[in-house]
Subunit: 439 residues, 2 copies
């Protein structure tokens, strides 16, 4: 990556998110169509995006929003990513997998295979999951601190397994019939509190050494894990000052683990709405907001962050009351903190809060290519970001708008790459190759 | 599928198997190359093969054969299959996944997604695995009977989750903002001995209703599972009489579960070596056998089936002693039975046994396109098979030989399809659509 250019990742939901699916131009059945995702991946690649990222959930929430919201079904990202790897050549593919409801041997193996198959373009978004226990032999979701303790050890096992073989272990000498050099094999023999895993992994070291690890934890335990092992850090930050504080705090925390500032890239999420004029962009945004069901959404988010009262029962133009002093949820402390802070800081009306939150908690950027480029530039220049995770609804026209209008503006200003810098995702991101700890 | 035509599946190993990798024409690094598998999948599709099947293992055997054999590493079939789905249009993709070292919710979801993504071409080879416990928090591999008890329940959970949604559950009514019909959702709420899984699955019903289930169990418990749930039955049978007996026994066992004869297809494996003349085919075969290391192989197989003595210590032309009376292994009763029976029935020399076993226990068919077509025709006509699982080494030239020479001969005789019969794997195999048990 050239000096002075930033990273662009794209977030694509499992289905069209929010109200995007209700727009006349939105296709039906995106959750049954590989072509839908292929279009997106190829378009983003044409726009030189560094990576494409799929989040995940492991259950269907049986709540009021179920009937009206499109988030009930989504493919496993580890099934979608290989298909997109075979459909593209350059863009990185970051798939989410849970450390709470998987086995580390399986996860290590799948990402190593994906890294091979994609020619070094695999990333693992390491999550502890927001729910799902009832689908995995549990009465309820595993507790927050237990999840993170397991996640720390899970990562150690996975990354240890990724180093099972020296890069030159498989000599494949036809004349002597020697397939591999047995001295270049490391048996991990991990004996930990949560895991006992012998190894070695039955996949050879992959093009990146290790697939890139993405992390978005924002609780104390989540931030600690991100600082120790995260290489792409996804975060929701609302002001440049907050962004810069988070940036400095995270890089310092990583440094305390002996990591250099260039070993992790911090990407705040932004949700863009692009128009030729600000008025056109605003009209696009308003059209989507009108199609959302404010009552259902506000009721759902009130429960989601344990607000203690129901926003949907308040008048739309009333100022939102202050939230409780203490955090109480098990599952999404970061989202809870974001909402609570937003209410305390901005004292918004219900309507204003609704508009903020329907972006999934990320900043909404409504504007022209120029104004959006200005905004991203300002954050980057202020040291609040190494780049951005662009939160798309999955609507093709919105991705087209960004790639066709905003990307050229960023390139014209020298802020964004015109060509991929290397072959692997690591090379494109400017992250160091992960050498093998055992060889 | 037309009357009188048989099914052809292909078995492709994770790397070039046996000694194939040592041949001058064999490419190196097949375990790092998507192009290797894409070539194979596309060639088999050009040859109208019904399906392509990948087996799996979950560990690296730290034995004498490790250094010399190519089976140490292989990609997870559930990562490879989606990439090949995006690279082909018609051929079925059957990926192996273990019921012993996975969670049913994850497995149900991955295959449903693969079925969507491939347009209805997914198959699940359900295995209980031959090993791997030490990579999954266990001192050793789970015991045979426990594995099968878990497998039975695992299947029930997976297939129940596949029926979580009616086919028309996702109405996506833009005008009213109704995404789904909540009455067309079934919460499984499975409470069993091994699994407690609430559901619903967060993937919609897939094009085939259920992905095709393949099974190759050959122990008593394995055969029972195959008879109850298997739709493609892979088996190793050495004589037409054995094949016919197995065929009749399996169909009768399925009938006892209320299943029709057309609800499962029985595919014995055969390992072909094709030449323009028999002499040319024999020379090809001999060339590969010479490159194998008989000592290492015989030592390894002696342990693998718990023979009680070491074949590698016997003279190559000595008749093999009789094996023990009783079966003792935990992990591969079917392979053990096959070897023991072979020794008892044929009283082979060590050399003869070596040649038989290096096919992975399957029949070796060395011959011309005509003689191979004769053989397959005879088995099919005798009621010993619904088709065949063609065991390839992964060498491209051997696949080319079969597709370019044997397939046209089979087509000329009216034994094999010239075009795919339908769109989905189920349609192509002549297996019935799986209706939803709850809707």
């Amino acid at each position: 990556m050239s000096q002075g250019q930033f990273v662009l990742g794209a977030f694509i939901p499992g289905t069209l998110s929010g109200s995007a699916w209700r727009l006349p131009e939105a296709p039906l059945d995106t959750f049954r169509s590989l072509e839908h995702y292929q279009y997106i991946a190829r378009k983003l690649e044409a726009g030189r995006f560094h990576s494409l990222f799929f989040n995940d959930t492991l259950d269907v929430k049986l709540d009021l929003a179920l009937q009206r919201g499109p988030n009930s079904v989504r493919w496993d990202p580890l099934i979608l990513a290989p298909a997109l790897a075979a459909s593209t050549r350059h863009i990185g593919l970051i798939a989410t997998a849970s450390t709470t409801y998987n086995e580390p041997y399986n996860v290590a193996r799948k990402y190593a295979a994906l890294d091979h198959l994609s020619g070094g373009r695999a990333g693992w978004n390491l999550v502890t999951s927001l729910g799902g226990g009832e689908n995995f032999n549990r009465q309820e979701h595993v507790e927050h601190d237990d999840r993170y303790a397991r996640a720390e050890e899970f990562y150690d096992v996975v990354s240890g397994l990724w180093d099972s073989w020296a890069d030159d272990a498989f000599i494949q000498d036809k004349a002597s019939g020697t397939w591999l050099d047995i001295d270049k094999l490391h048996v991990l023999d991990h004996q930990g509190e949560h895991f006992q895993v012998r190894g070695p992994l039955n996949v050879s070291r992959s093009p990146q050494g290790h697939p890139v690890v993405a992390q978005a934890g924002a609780s104390v335990a989540g931030k600690r894990l991100a600082a120790r092992v995260g290489e792409l850090i996804f975060t929701a930050q609302h002001t440049i000052e907050q962004g810069r504080a988070f940036y400095q705090e995270t890089k310092a925390a990583a440094a305390a683990f002996g990591r250099g500032a260039n070993e992790l890239k911090i990407l705040p999420g932004v949700s863009p709405v692009v128009g030729k004029t600000l008025a056109e962009a605003q009209a696009k945004y308003d059209r989507q907001q009108e199609l959302l069901e404010p009552k259902a959404f506000l009721s759902s988010i009130s429960k989601f962050v344990s607000l203690g009262y129901d926003l949907s029962e308040l008048p739309f133009d009333e100022v939102v009351p202050l939230p409780p002093e203490h955090f109480t949820t098990n599952t999404h402390q970061s989202r809870q903190k974001l909402v609570f802070d937003l209410i305390r800081r901005e004292r918004p009306t219900v309507r204003q809060l609704f508009n903020q939150l329907t972006s999934g908690g990320h900043r909404i950027l409504i504007g022209t290519p120029e104004s959006i480029a200005d905004d991203l530039h300002a954050w980057y220049e202020a040291g609040a970001a190494d780049g951005f995770n662009i939160m798309f609804s999955g609507l093709h026209s919105a991705i087209d708008d960004f790639v066709d209008c905003v990307v050229p503006e960023l390139q014209r200003r020298g802020l964004f790459q015109r060509e991929y810098a290397g072959t692997t995702l690591r090379e494109n991101l400017g992250l160091p190759y992960r050498t093998n700890r055992f060889f």
